[in-house]
Each structure stands twice: as C-alpha cells, then as structure tokens.
Symmetry: C2
Subunit: 147 residues, 2 copies
C-alpha cells in the first residue's frame, strides 16, 4: 500500500491554485493534514492536529476545498456532518461505522429508481443525498480473526 499523501496534497493545492488561491504555508499544512486523514474528520479535529494554524484559516480552507469540489461533507448516522476527501461530481459514500473509513460510490444507478418513485408521488425530482452505512471489508476481517 504505497503512501500517496504527498501527491494527493499537491493535487489539492493545485486545485486551489487553479482557482486563483495562493499557495501559503498554512494552506499547505491543511491540505497535507487532509491528505493524511484516513477517515472523515471535523474542522475542530483538524485544528487540533495543526496547532500552528489558526481556526479561521482552517474553516476558510475547508470552505474553499468544498467549493472546489475536492472535499465534501458526509452525514454520519447520528446526524453529525464531517468532512471527507472525495471524488468530484455526484457520488455517494459507503461509510464504515467501525473505523470511519469510506469508499466513494460512483455510478450508482439510484436515479432511475428515484425517478419512478418521485413520479408516483407527482414530485419533480431535482436531487438527492444518500449515505450508506455498514462495515468495510477490513473491519469484517478484523472481527473474523478476533473470534
């Protein structure tokens, strides 16, 4: 499993630069931290990991990344919203409730189903938000071994 954190962080920074945002050291620290994250996180968690970076900068950077489409918010089962590095465009997440990792779900053909259901309710569909919860493969393996 090669560590691709650095290149990932670089990609994030480039995304920001393409949009006219400057490459500053606090921002590099933020994208590095995000790239090193293996699960969803909150702004405060990130702030805790980066004592040298001000809160406002954390929040502002996260907003820029979300606006750029490289970071998205995920809804946990309990209703908390966390951040999560992600694919651009529309997609969903398979969120592991054990370890907090997540897999992006592309090309999910839920649209057709929703279209049908919506039509039955005379509802003009325009969008949806779906989160899927469960256990990832690694956590299932870990449990199997533990037993």
């Amino acid at each position: 499993m090669p560590k691709r954190s650095s290149s990932l962080a670089t990609q994030l920074l480039e995304t920001l630069e393409e949009r006219g945002h400057r490459s500053t050291s606090p921002r590099r620290a933020v994208v590095n931290a995000i790239a090193g994250q293996n699960k969803h996180f909150t702004a405060e968690e990130l702030h805790g990991q980066l004592p040298g970076v001000g809160r406002a900068t954390i929040y502002r950077s996260l907003k820029l990344l979300v606006d750029s489409g490289v970071l998205c918010r995920v809804l946990l089962e309990e209703g908390d919203l966390h951040y999560q590095l992600s694919h651009r465009g529309h997609h969903h997440h398979l969120l592991c409730v054990e370890c907090g990792s997540s897999q992006d779900l592309l090309g999910c053909d839920i649209e057709d189903l929703l279209q049908t259901v919506s039509a039955a309710h005379k509802f003009q569909l325009s969008g949806h938000w779906l989160e899927v919860y469960g256990k990832c493969h690694d956590c299932m393996d870990r449990e199997a071994v533990a037993v």
Copy 2:
C-alpha cells in the same frame, strides 16, 4: 382539507405519556406547534413561535419526540438539519425545495439496490440515509399558473 392538528397533537402527547413522560402545559404547547407546522423547522423557529416556553424545554421536548420515533430530522440540500413530523420506522422524505413541505416515502425498495452495490464493494450494509429533493405537485401547479 380538514384540520387535524388537534388530534395529531394529542397523538404526540399520548406517545410521550406512553413512555412515562408527563403531560405538562409547555409540552402541550410544543406538540401543538409541531402539529400545526406545514414544513420542516428548527428548534429556534419553534422557540420563536412559543415565547412562553423556555429554550431548554423546546430542545428537551424535541429530543424526547425524536427518541420516541414520531419526529425525525431531515437533511436539507445545503446540509442543515431540521425537524420534521414523520411516520415511525424507516422511511425517506420527498422534500420540496420551493415550499419546504415534504412527503414521507414508505416502502421504497432502495434496499435491494444498495445491497447489490455494497456487496460489489465487499461492504456489509447496515443502514442508509436518503433525502430526495425536488418540487412538489402544488409548487409545480403554482408555477404553471404564474406563467
């Protein structure tokens, strides 16, 4: 369109009583207000509508109702969580982005689809959260007339 607010409010109150919670006048005020709501709402909005009821009571009542399963939280497109009177048990919402009304969606067979997709990702499905956004029938009519 008969007003069923009062009986609805009574039902809510009975639900709380069945669970051992007392019938008090602040609580009656809260369930009445909720029953009269025609769209999703926030705790603060409710507090604004009930000047005589303390904030803490509002928050505590909402929590009891959510725990009882008669009230649920809905996620708006922008990521805000509001409250919404609802059916018990698992269901989804068709949320109108125009007027904020919502229809409960029961018996949506999204489970099978998710099961298949999850299996393909070696993911053990345990739950999901789905919100559907669009325009309700009334709002579509209203627009048609306006044009």
